[in-house]
Symmetry: C2
Subunit: 423 residues, 2 copies
């Protein structure tokens, strides 16, 4: 617990662990401490794209609800076509037509056929559909069938798509366009989804001024809290920016407490100097129990990452430079927002396969992420490493994505095929 | 021009071309006809994520604006450290500290050093920074430097990130989180972006009823116009749903005209029967010059796709079944929305590399897309083809993405490494 704001005392009692863990282990430590307790809200299904389902949804109807033709053609009794061939067609009399959108009034008996359309209901008595291309009209009321069909051929059976009681969509599914189609198919026009996790963002740094300010000597505009807010939005969270807080323990602690109280998680974008970073870790350790879980990750850029749980709410200390902040956000905060939403699957990492144009040096025991530009050369996608200093925002603006050098590798060679995380 | 609504006359005068083109050629035909004339609007930069820049933006300031330290350490004259080693350190007197966020008052002369922090301004006189780890304090006002630094080492020079007059961000850039950071860094808090292209969506089909209705015998709920609306939103457009129109030439034509007049592009989601599809193509051919450009693509599913330009506005006829509609949307409508927004680069196709679990048969001369589920087996990502009938919406709901079988291939083998377009 925090009992004062004296800077010296604070540093002496700092209960940090300084575990430098590989990124995957650090993520696992954080995950174990996060309990998704998302509040839910009901939204119209056609506005639920990207939201996370709060409950399992069960099918209440069969789809299709009726035997449905899969082709334009003739509904028949399959057995009437057995043995049919171009040289010996089956002769059937056409007794009518199955209309679209209504129950057919016609029935199909032995030796009979009824015209029907893709998506239409197959008339009673028929158990298969012959494609129109495999028939020929011999009279307006008679056809020859040139090929046999099996029972059920070209017919979608009731319940073949989904049956009552089947799981329509699972709790925790982040809804995609086709999922919304699936909801509509079942007549579900309102759904309970997790409220977007509110992620508070606090920036620190005595050198940081708002984007609207004209920076004086030694000052820079706030970049990270806006980049982070956009990343929170992209990950499905609701960003709450709490502005820039000076590098002062008591002030930062008060601001962090207030921000965390109003949100489901807190991201502190630290200033760039080591002392500010240490102060950030110190503040985080005072926000609640159990406090700092991970301080330092074997990751470049991004080593000084802080992961914490404070009285049930996750807190992340992001490194100050923009590239590090993005890498760390991608690795830790994006999954965190998924967990807080109750998302049931980790997002599949989408990548572009490319040929590396230059060697990348790394060190075993550390995961490296190098910004790259994607360029097309002779129809091949190539990844060109950008070896800019990682504190340059325009390195990020020029980059199309990141190449990862795995923990056990000492580098990657020019010409290698690599997967680029596009951002 | 359209002079009547007699169904028979309409079919006879249908001016369609019936070019069955490979998907890439069909896309190119459409692209040649699309002229982006996006209207622009000014939005706050922190709300511009995913929007497309309407103008080139030029840097008005240098970044950094001052020589900035890249490390916590001591600002020095590099030549004072030449030849320094652990066995023969360079001895420097510490004359003060460069504060964060202000211009240093201290100057560094020969034989002197000043404490400075990452992100801080390097004091006058100094031309390099020695990392604190490569020094040792011998007295409160003196250090030993254990390693030489080169001039400029650990210092980011003014303008090294970006210089006044440099291109900040190009017209046509779809803004990402880091681009918003770049805008803020330059103090740009308002930006002109392309208005989201309005995409009208009309559904046809006598069998189709709204999701709120209880379908009667032979009826199905509208799925595609909701799936399509969500896909339009995802692609950066503004969907306008115009409801369900009966399969009647005059009614559909009137509805399509009204929808196109109010939008920048029109998508008609056709009913599933061949006659409805033909009527859709017929209607599109009457909406304006030059009319239908492509009718039929060598693609499965998605062959009956219609691509058209009608008096300057693109019109796409989507096949009726859900899987086809999604594949065709992905291949044609997503890029179209980018062009209409003035986007300057085609989106990189993001995929997941996976091992195919079963053979997929195809036919050379046709591009096939097969829905797959992604499963993890022994730490490897595997793609499991879902050979469902393509008119089943829940095939889509169960799928994680699509595997493409290229035009020149007759199939893919189990065990092959494939790229899955995740959706």
């Amino acid at each position: 617990m925090y009992h004062g704001c004296d800077h010296v005392v604070a540093v002496e009692t700092m209960p940090e662990l300084f575990n430098v863990l590989p990124p995957s282990q650090a993520l696992e430590v954080l995950r174990k401490h996060v309990t998704p307790r998302p509040e839910s809200e009901v939204v119209p299904a056609d506005q639920a794209l990207g939201r996370v389902l709060a409950t399992d949804l069960t099918a209440t109807e069969a789809l299709p609800a009726f035997p449905r033709s899969n082709m334009d053609g003739y509904a028949v009794r399959a057995q009437d076509t057995f043995g049919a061939a171009e040289s010996l067609p089956a002769y059937l009399s056409v007794v009518g037509e199955a209309p679209m959108g209504r129950a057919p009034t016609v029935q199909v008996a032995q030796g009979q056929a009824a015209l029907c359309y893709t998506g239409g209901m197959v008339p009673e008595g028929a158990d298969a559909v012959v494609m129109v291309e495999q028939t020929q009209e011999v009279r307006p009321d008679a056809i020859e069938v040139l090929r046999p069909v099996a029972p059920g051929e070209n017919v979608v059976q009731p319940g073949e798509d989904i049956r009552p009681g089947d799981l329509l969509l699972p709790k925790g599914r982040r809804l995609r366009a086709q999922d919304i189609g699936g909801l509509m198919a079942m007549g579900v026009t309102q759904v309970a989804v997790a409220r977007r996790p509110r992620v508070a963002i606090v920036s620190t740094g005595d050198e940081v001024v708002p984007p609207t300010a004209r920076p004086g000597p030694g000052q820079v505009r706030d970049i990270n809290s806006y980049t982070v807010a956009a990343l929170v939005e992209q990950a499905g969270g609701a960003p709450l920016r709490f502005g820039i807080v000076p590098d002062d323990l008591a002030t930062l602690l008060a601001a962090a407490r207030k921000a965390l109280a109003e949100a489901d998680a807190l991201v502190i974008s630290a200033g760039s100097s080591v002392s500010t970073r240490d102060m950030t870790a110190n503040v985080i350790s005072r926000l609640g129990a159990p406090g700092v879980l991970v301080h330092g990750v074997s990751l470049r850029p991004g080593k000084p990452t802080v992961l914490a749980m404070c009285d049930g709410k996750p807190v992340v200390g992001l490194p100050g430079n923009p590239v590090s902040a993005m890498v760390v956000f991608d690795l830790f905060v994006t999954p965190l927002i998924g967990w807080l939403s109750g998302e049931n699957a980790s997002r599949t990492e989408r990548t572009v396969v490319a040929r590396l144009t230059r060697n990348i040096a790394s060190a075993p025991g550390r995961e490296d992420y190098v910004p790259v530009r994607l360029v097309r050369e002779n129809g091949q996608v190539c990844a060109e490493p950008l070896f800019g200093k990682s504190n340059l925002i325009f390195t990020l603006v020029r980059a199309d994505g990141l190449v990862k050098v795995a923990l056990d590798k000492s580098g990657l060679y020019a010409g290698e095929t690599v997967e680029v995380r596009v951002w």
